[in-house]
Symmetry: C2
Subunit: 416 residues, 2 copies
Amino acid sequence: METVPAMAAPSLDHIRALDAADPLAPARAHFALPPGVIYLDGNSLGALPVGTAARVADTVQREWGSGLIGSWNSADWIGAPQRLGARIAGLIGAAPDEVLVADSTSVNLYKLLAAAIMAQPGRRTVLTEPGNFPTDLYMVQGLAQLVPGLRIRQAEREAIIDAIDDDVAVVMLTQVHYKTGHRLDLATVTAAAHARGALMLWDLSHSAGAIAVDLNTAGGDLAVGCGYKYLNGGPGAPAYLYVAKRLQDRLQTPLAGWMGHARPFDFDDDYAPAAGIARFGCGTPAIVALAALDAGLDTFDGIDRTALYAKGQALADLFINVVEAGDTGIALVTPRDPAQRGSHVSFACDQGFAVVQCLIARGVIGDFRAPNVMRFGFAPLYLTYADVWHAAQALVDVLHTRAWDRPAFKLRGKVT
Amino acid sequence: METVPAMAAPSLDHIRALDAADPLAPARAHFALPPGVIYLDGNSLGALPVGTAARVADTVQREWGSGLIGSWNSADWIGAPQRLGARIAGLIGAAPDEVLVADSTSVNLYKLLAAAIMAQPGRRTVLTEPGNFPTDLYMVQGLAQLVPGLRIRQAEREAIIDAIDDDVAVVMLTQVHYKTGHRLDLATVTAAAHARGALMLWDLSHSAGAIAVDLNTAGGDLAVGCGYKYLNGGPGAPAYLYVAKRLQDRLQTPLAGWMGHARPFDFDDDYAPAAGIARFGCGTPAIVALAALDAGLDTFDGIDRTALYAKGQALADLFINVVEAGDTGIALVTPRDPAQRGSHVSFACDQGFAVVQCLIARGVIGDFRAPNVMRFGFAPLYLTYADVWHAAQALVDVLHTRAWDRPAFKLRGKVT
């Protein structure tokens, strides 16, 4: 955490010129944002795409209502987990047949962790960092209850590479930290894991769709991620998992459900894993939820990815700049260098909870993470520079006027 | 399997009188069945309720689109798994706080199996039957890959009680067999498991919503079930799990996701299971899919359960009677005694696959399970006696005319 001397904030005229020149400006029209709201929580729950309602209604009414059971084939419901996986592959630097949509991020993490541990009987340690996203830590703790001798070691981010030893089966990290916004370098950490013979498991929940993720270039092994943040798949959308092609037939999940079977419709008594990424499926896919995720992925169609990620960085830069120019004294938690952060920015503030409530009352939606972190996410598909400028000004105003001393606030928790 | 001498089928006039007197007849109007279709596959995928489209659209557009992240609280998304669990409890003879909606049936089965095994370190056997629903068998096989010394034993249904010994941690059975329709007696088998100190885990996927299920009266321990069959929750709907109150705080799932944590929004590094049924949650709940399931459960509102289950039995009786009166020579696989079967009826027929395709071409939708089983499900909420009479006549006609010798059939698989 650091504070810097205040600089002059850009003028609103300058900001409007940025929006006028923004090649991604038309993408905003693909989202149904409520009027009067500046939504800086797309890192927690992405906004609703305008196409989602019709896509879901079609799945419900035509595919399910009219097609009934036959839609497993005629609408290719059965192919949806791989079809959507192939779409997500393009956002994470994977090949189309390396990604599967299934279950929740937590369940997918468990599948890949357990598979990696079973494949390396001589290694018994999972290495992670303290303060990693809680469900990731909990899932490995749960697995350790079942697997005798499994050790969980934690090392701080800065020390993680040095902590990899020959007992480490899996290094499990979140690329962009949910609270601080700090980004780890995929290639560097993956190479360090490989140098000690360990597998690398990335959680991409706070990265994919907002920053460049290039798993295969980084030599990636395993990854999971969330469908409901930057991918705009809706609350609790199905998650995805990535297994590098070279590992797929070496690994096997203990969640050996029929959708991962080589021939699910033979109804054999014995499990035989499918070839390739399909073996990491488990139960029957949630078709209505998959339809919403599919519509979320549509929002990336035709979008220049380089421009997208550059805009996300520019929005975050702008926010930091305007807030710091306001000389409020709150401390930036997130790295200033765009290459070291994701697409959300956090500031530490002892009154953070109340400040966020004040902002929400003004239509600026961010969120708060205990004990003192205010988070603001910059989904580059649907935010304008003017949105971010106004939001930052609102934050400065709330802090200068101590707005939380005035109204009564309705307390509420949030789901990342 | 047995054949019986042909009896006279009831006349269509008699059938129409049954429909006219049916107190459940109005329930059919709550489903959006396509015209010209007699849908006998609700045991595989329930029909679309008329209320689902609007309920899902409201969740998508108002709750997600307008409410955004705030709907976790304002729309009580966070409470949905327990709220829907309490609704399902009424269909399976459980208390409202004994059922949770989460994940898929496969994943829930794994959670409860693993929890039961971890709680009984002196017992290492899971006892089940050959030919149980494949994903149930696969999940225990997957678990056994991870848990050293875990043994899987299979015994035929008739021999299952005698096979329970002091090493059995869990007896895992499906109450109504997906292929044969045979029903096991919940109370008898549960008592036998308890007599040897084992826990009983039931899969209710082919029972709940179609036949009387009374877990607590039967002394139930653990159960799972599917949301997309008789509960009409839509393709791949979230599943449910049941843990008897007395066991909830003794058991802990290795799928220790943040939604099962005592204080998920504290973002602690250490897992601490929630009290009660909530601890069996895992990842973020699939809200759009839960909305569809909620609308599916609405179809049971105000329905007299005794009349519902009696109608299901009567429909199946009628089908058997009309088919057997047709003297086609196909063999009934399902028990003739309604107390020994679920709400679907299977006949063995070497040409079964082709026969089912012929029926589908005539608008009568049943399904086929290898090697030779034709299945016909009787969802009592939306089928009339006339539907069943016509379907049975169609089956007889297809068999007598060997209709499969004429048209070319498009081959297709099905998902149960």
